[in-house]
C-alpha cells in the first residue's frame, strides 16, 4: 500500500524483457514500451491518415497536415529557408516529445519525458548536432559567436566566459525544463489523487482540483513539446547564421 501512495512510484523504471548485450543493460522497460507506443502512434497518424492523398483532407489527414504545417512554419520563421534540411529532425523531436507527454496523461501510463536521462540525451544530441553544424559551416569563425557584435573589446574577458557558460548550459536548461515540468505535474496529480479517498465526502474538493490540474497538465504537455522544439529551432538558427 505504501508503494501505491508514493507519488514518485509512477516514475519507477520496470524491466519488462531483460536484455544484456556485452555487459550493458539494454532491457526493454516500461519506458521503452511507451517510446515504441509513441513511434507507432505518430507513424500511424502521419502515414496512415495520408494514405488516400485526398485533395480535400479528412479529419485525420487534416491533423497530420496541421502538424506538418505547424512545424514547417516554426522552422521557417526561426531559421528561414536554410532550415529545410533539419525539418524531419525537428518534426521528429516535436512529435516524440509531444506524444511522450500526451500518452503520459492517460491513467496508468508511463511518461518517458519525465526522466532526466531521456530528456538530457535528447538535449545533448541537439547540442552536439548544432555545434557540429556550426563548426562545419563556419569553421573558426564559429568562436566569434561567443563575442557578440558591437561589444567593446575591454568587455571581452568578462563576456566571453559568460557566453561560453550560457552556451554550455543550453542542454542542461533544455532537458531539465522538460523533465522537471513533466515530473512536477505528474507528482502533483498523484498527490491530489491520494487525497480523494481518505477525505470521504470532502474528496470532491481534490477531484475538482484534479480536473483543473489535468487541464493545465494537457496544456503544459503541449507547451513543453513546443518549447523544446522552438529552442531546437533557435539553436539551429544560431548554428546556421551565427549572430
Amino acid at each position: 500500500m505504501a508503494e501505491a501512495h508514493n507519488p514518485l512510484a509512477q516514475f519507477e523504471i520496470k524491466t519488462l524483457i531483460p536484455i544484456h548485450i556485452g555487459g550493458v543493460d539494454a532491457s526493454f522497460t516500461n519506458s521503452a514500451a511507451f517510446m515504441v507506443a509513441s513511434v507507432v502512434c505518430v507513424s500511424a497518424l502521419m502515414i496512415l491518415s495520408v494514405r488516400s492523398r485526398a485533395l480535400v483532407p479528412g479529419r485525420w489527414q487534416l491533423l497530420a497536415e496541421l502538424a506538418y504545417s505547424f512545424i514547417a512554419k516554426m522552422l521557417t520563421d526561426t531559421v528561414g529557408k536554410e532550415g529545410r534540411p533539419y525539418f524531419p529532425l525537428v518534426f521528429s523531436i516535436f512529435m516524440f516529445v509531444l506524444f511522450g507527454n500526451m500518452l503520459g496523461m492517460l491513467p496508468y501510463t508511463f511518461t518517458y519525458t519525465s526522466h532526466l536521462a531521456v530528456t538530457f540525451a535528447m538535449a545533448a544530441f541537439v547540442f552536439v548536432l548544432v555545434t557540429v553544424v556550426a563548426i562545419a559551416k563556419h569553421g573558426m569563425k564559429f568562436f566569434s559567436f561567443f563575442l557578440p557584435h558591437g561589444v567593446p573589446i575591454a568587455m571581452a574577458p568578462l563576456l566571453i566566459p559568460i557566453e561560453i557558460i550560457s552556451y554550455l548550459s543550453r542542454p542542461v536548461s533544455l532537458s531539465v525544463r522538460l523533465f522537471a515540468n513533466m515530473m512536477a505535474g505528474h507528482t502533483l496529480l498523484k498527490v491530489l489523487g491520494g487525497f480523494v479517498l481518505p477525505l470521504g465526502i470532502f474528496g470532491v474538493v481534490p477531484v475538482l482540483g484534479l480536473v483543473a490540474v489535468s487541464g493545465l497538465e494537457l496544456l503544459i504537455a503541449f507547451l513543453q513539446a513546443y518549447i523544446f522544439t522552438i529552442l531546437t529551432c533557435i539553436y539551429i538558427n544560431d548554428a546556421v547564421h551565427l549572430h
Partner: protein, 163 residues
C-alpha cells in the same frame, strides 16, 4: 527519486536511440515527403483554379464591355433612325399642309370670283329691272315712256348714290 537511479540510464538511452532513429527514418523517408506532396499538389490545384477563375473573370469583363458598347451603338443607331423619321414625317406634313393651303386658297379665290360674277349679274339684272320698272312707272304716271338711254342714265345715277 527513480530519475536519479543511474542503473536505469543505459536501457532508457539505448531504447530512446532505437525508437527515435526509427521515428526519424519513417518521418524523413515516408510521412513527410508524402504530406509535403499532398500539400504542394493542393496548393498547385488552388493556384490553377484561381488562375482559371481570374481568366474567366477577365473574359466575362470583356464580354460585358463588348455588350455595353454594342448596346450603346444600337442605341445611337436607333436615335438617328428616330430623328430621320421625325424629320421625314414633319417635312411630309408641311408639304401636305402647304398643298392643302394652296388648294383652299384657290377654292377661295374661285368662290370669290363666282361671288363677284354673281354680284355683277345681280347688279345688271337689277339695273335692267329698274330701268323697266322706271319706264313702266313713268308710262303710267305721265302717259309717255322716257327714252331708254335717259332712263338708263337716271337708274345708273340712283344706283351710284346707293352703293
Amino acid at each position: 527519486m527513480p530519475q536519479f537511479n543511474i542503473a536505469t540510464f543505459p536501457p532508457q538511452i539505448i531504447w530512446l536511440a532505437i525508437t527515435f532513429v526509427v521515428l526519424y527514418i519513417l518521418m524523413a523517408r515516408v510521412a513527410l515527403p508524402r504530406i509535403g506532396n499532398v500539400l504542394s499538389e493542393r496548393q498547385e490545384k488552388i493556384d490553377d483554379n484561381l488562375e482559371a477563375a481570374e481568366q474567366l473573370r477577365t473574359q466575362a469583363k470583356a464580354d460585358a464591355d463588348a455588350y455595353s458598347s454594342e448596346l450603346a451603338k444600337a442605341r445611337e443607331a436607333a436615335r438617328l433612325a428616330i430623328a430621320e423619321a421625325t424629320l421625314e414625317v414633319s417635312a411630309d406634313a408641311a408639304q401636305k399642309q402647304e398643298a392643302l393651303g394652296q388648294r383652299l386658297t384657290a377654292q377661295i379665290k374661285s368662290a370669290e370670283a363666282e361671288i363677284d360674277k354673281a354680284k355683277a349679274n345681280a347688279r345688271t339684272s337689277i339695273r335692267d329691272a329698274a330701268i323697266g320698272v322706271a319706264q313702266a312707272a313713268t308710262q303710267r304716271l305721265i302717259g309717255t315712256a322716257p327714252a331708254e338711254p335717259t332712263t338708263a342714265a337716271a337708274v345708273d345715277r340712283a344706283l351710284q348714290a346707293r352703293s
